[in-house]
Symmetry: C2
Subunit: 89 residues, 2 copies
């Protein structure tokens, strides 16, 4: 696997988180509350302005009731999409 | 999944990283070099004194030639071990 910058990872994770949260019908505020995060934090993550630590990733997965490794797999999938390569070029 | 503290996650991840690195026969110095990390960083991670961001986790997995989700699954497995519960009690 090639090395991705933290900005690339943040953007890919943000898109994954937003999609998963919406599928689950959870608002950003509700997610923040469930995770005991500052209420701005889900928005920063979804916009790719922050990337999560592993502990935060586990907490987000718990709040969204999904396996944490799914968030990782989907993030990696987005990083490997041709569109992402095009953006970086 | 219950919410784990960042210290618990850091310890569980550190143990996972150490085991995986040793299985792969990679030294801490070599791992740091492959990841372009400060050479102290693998030791801090393995001792549970730091926890990785998602971008770092992907980079470590790449350097160890394993799927990043495996590091997550094994960390969660350690967190859920009865011994870990006992340590927390």
């Amino acid at each position: 696997m090639k090395a991705y910058s933290r900005h690339e990872v943040a953007r890919a994770f943000g898109a994954t988180l937003r999609e998963t949260r919406r599928e689950r019908g959870v608002s950003q505020d509700a997610l923040a509350e469930r995770c005991d995060f500052n209420r701005c934090y889900p928005s920063l993550l979804e916009r790719g302005l922050r990337q999560p630590t592993l502990a935060m990733l586990l907490r987000l997965a718990g709040a969204l009731e999904i396996q944490p490794e799914r968030l990782v797999t989907e993030t990696v999938g987005r990083l490997q999409e041709p569109a992402n390569t095009a953006t970086r070029a």
